[in-house]
């Protein structure tokens, strides 16, 4: 199960590969072949196809077909028409990521250093909800946050919410849902990196006149940074592309770019628009990730 905790992080460990023997290289390719082929065929090729689609004539339709016209203006049109959705996606994803970090770090920390024999149980409880369909859980949020549900009632009673205020169908609900949905992906890598941290280092910092807060800031946090980076990426990326939370817990004013891509593909059948928005989304994500990773200085990851 700790292997599961390491699931999102690890990779950078590498470990010195055994020296190549004759013929081993061929074995390597044989081992790689099926998986790599699968990814090439069903991930890379589709992306290329999608790239092509993004340049189709925007006036194409089912009955007329879609012509490749290298319509780069699709990108311009998509961005201008859906800039608010793009912005909102990254805003919500950003807030959700920060919240998930603020919530996830203490949980991961407690699991790594405070849980003692409860450690495995806690890990279990973080992982187990994966098995209850996230749609079911998100629908549960819908009823938890419902206008005449318990949370709203309590908040109204204590005056934190206006008598006619509500949670469902607000940004708060959407961000709550996003945070909730991706929290495990934040907790697990941070936990994995904290697990590896030698508590002696924190003691050493205390011994060298660092107060607990300073020791955390100077030692614990920097040393768990690989986990934090992995966790934030594992939260931010899917959150930025998500549409289910906005759709179930929000209103059109909360819709994110994922909603647009989804409905362009599946409802309005505007494939060029959907494709170009997909690429804009990916490009921005990659850009942000690169900036972030460079800023935080964890080169190993990307």
């Amino acid at each position: 199960m700790s292997a599961l905790a390491g699931l999102t992080l690890e990779a950078q460990q590498g470990g010195a590969p055994a020296p190549a023997r004759k013929g081993r290289r061929r074995t390597a390719y044989l081992l790689l072949l099926p998986g790599a082929l699968w990814l090439l065929l069903f991930f890379v090729v589709p992306l290329i196809q999608l790239a092509a689609t993004s340049l189709y004539d925007p006036s194409g339709s089912l009955s007329t077909g879609y012509q490749m016209t290298f319509a780069f203006e699709n990108y311009v049109n998509a961005v201008t028409a859906y800039a608010p959705h793009l912005l909102r996606s990254f805003l919500y994803a950003g807030i959700a990521t920060v919240l998930a970090f603020l919530l996830g770090y203490p949980l991961a920390y407690a699991m790594a250093f405070r849980a003692g024999r409860w450690k495995n149980l806690m890990l279990l409880l973080v992982v187990a909800p994966f098995f209850t369909s996230f749609l079911v859980r998100t629908l549960a949020w819908k009823s938890i946050l419902a206008d005449n549900g318990p949370v709203v009632g309590i908040l109204q009673a204590v005056g934190l919410l206006a008598p006619d205020g509500r949670l469902l169908a607000t940004s708060v609900a959407v961000v709550t849902g996003l945070t909730y949905n991706f929290l495990p992906f934040m907790v697990l890598p941070i936990y994995a990196s904290l697990e590896k941290l030698d508590p002696k280092l924190v003691e050493a910092a205390g011994d060298l006149y660092a107060s607990p807060a300073t020791a955390f800031r100077k030692i614990t946090l920097p040393l768990s940074m690989t986990g934090v980076v992995a966790g934030t990426l594992m939260t931010f990326i899917p959150a930025a592309g998500d549409y289910v939370n906005a759709q179930l817990l929000g209103t059109p004013n909360q819709y994110m770019i994922g909603n647009v891509i989804n409905s362009s593909f599946l409802v309005t059948l505007n494939f060029p628009l959907a494709a170009s928005l997909s690429f804009v989304l990916m490009a921005i994500i990659l850009l942000l990730v690169l900036l972030y990773v460079r800023r935080v200085g964890t080169k190993e990851l990307v």
Binding site: I48, Q49, A52, T53, Y56, D57, S59, G60, S61, L62, S63, T64, G65, Y66, Q67, M68, A81, Y82, H85, A146, D147, N148, R166, L168, A169, T170, Y243, Q247, G250, T251, P252, N253, Y255, N259, V260, N262, S263, S264, F265, L266, V267, T268, L269, N270
Partner: protein, 362 residues
Amino acid sequence: ACGTPARQGAQPGAAAEDLSDTEKLLNFSNWPLYIDYDDAEEGRPSLEAFEDATGITVTYTEEINDNAEFFGKVQNQLSNGQATGRDVVILTDWMAARLVGLGWLQELDKANLPNVEANLLDNLRSPSWDTDRSYSVPWQSGMTGIAYNAAAIGEIRSMEDLLTKPELKGRVTFLSEMQDAMGLILLNMGKNPGDFTDADFEAAIDRLQGAVDAGQIRSFTGNDYAQDLVQGNIVAAMAWSGDVIQLQFENPDIKFIAPEEGLMLWSDNMLVPTGAAHKKNAEALMNHYYDPAIAAQVAAWVNYISPVAGAREEMEKIDPALAENPLIFPDEDFLAQTNLFKGMTEEEERKYNELFQQVIGA
């Protein structure tokens, strides 16, 4: 990849091999709240009657929530000439027209539809997109208006209320179907949904955008507004007539009104998509539902306008009060205040949909 070819079916009406004679099966996709349903028995009496009479087993799926959404779901198979797994689907006129145009429907054998031939109301016999009803048989007609929860909000009378009333802010849903939503807004702006200009439409879009931006509208829904209305998450909704009358059984405070500005009228059709392997069984089903007694039975539950002549007479036997309900059996005067959305060219349809889409953001 140099583009994707047009998806028009090679020969309109191309039929799959009909397995009806050997497989007594039928896959029937419908909207929620669109067939008689006995809560106590947890069964659908009219459908059971059909199964008993024909020995055909019906797989009934309430999977259609919105025309466009459903189309999006099946268009891949249809455009590739593949079976969708559905033998009968129920879609609204304009969507049925699109399918006819694409050649994705199977031509019906009139010989198998004596009841339809006999009982189909005259005014429905020859729509512009399927002039001799070769591909479609009406299921029900209905109206788009306003539903609200009278216990939660004072009286609602108009689209104006829906668009602007502060008490409704964030507690009202609109329909995600462009014809429904824009039709009512055009009416609200004094335009005729059956005949308007691009400028009219754009003005209406702006009005809608304003309401969205103000946070007035909670969401754009398909048939799923019903749930939110019953659960109390919303207090008013753009809604379809029959649904609301059914919801009243759950909650008597829920009311359907014709907005002061007018109602939209539409009808839904039974269609057999290409690739469906049980056309003859489908035709048997269509014929079954054109038995006036069955039609009345359905109408008594769903409260939509039945396209079957003689249903009203049968209804008298079931529930005389319903036979007088103008939402189920509208008279000429009532129909006069209803409106049809105009038939659009493909070009117009794309343009209006795109504008609408940008407002609803999905």
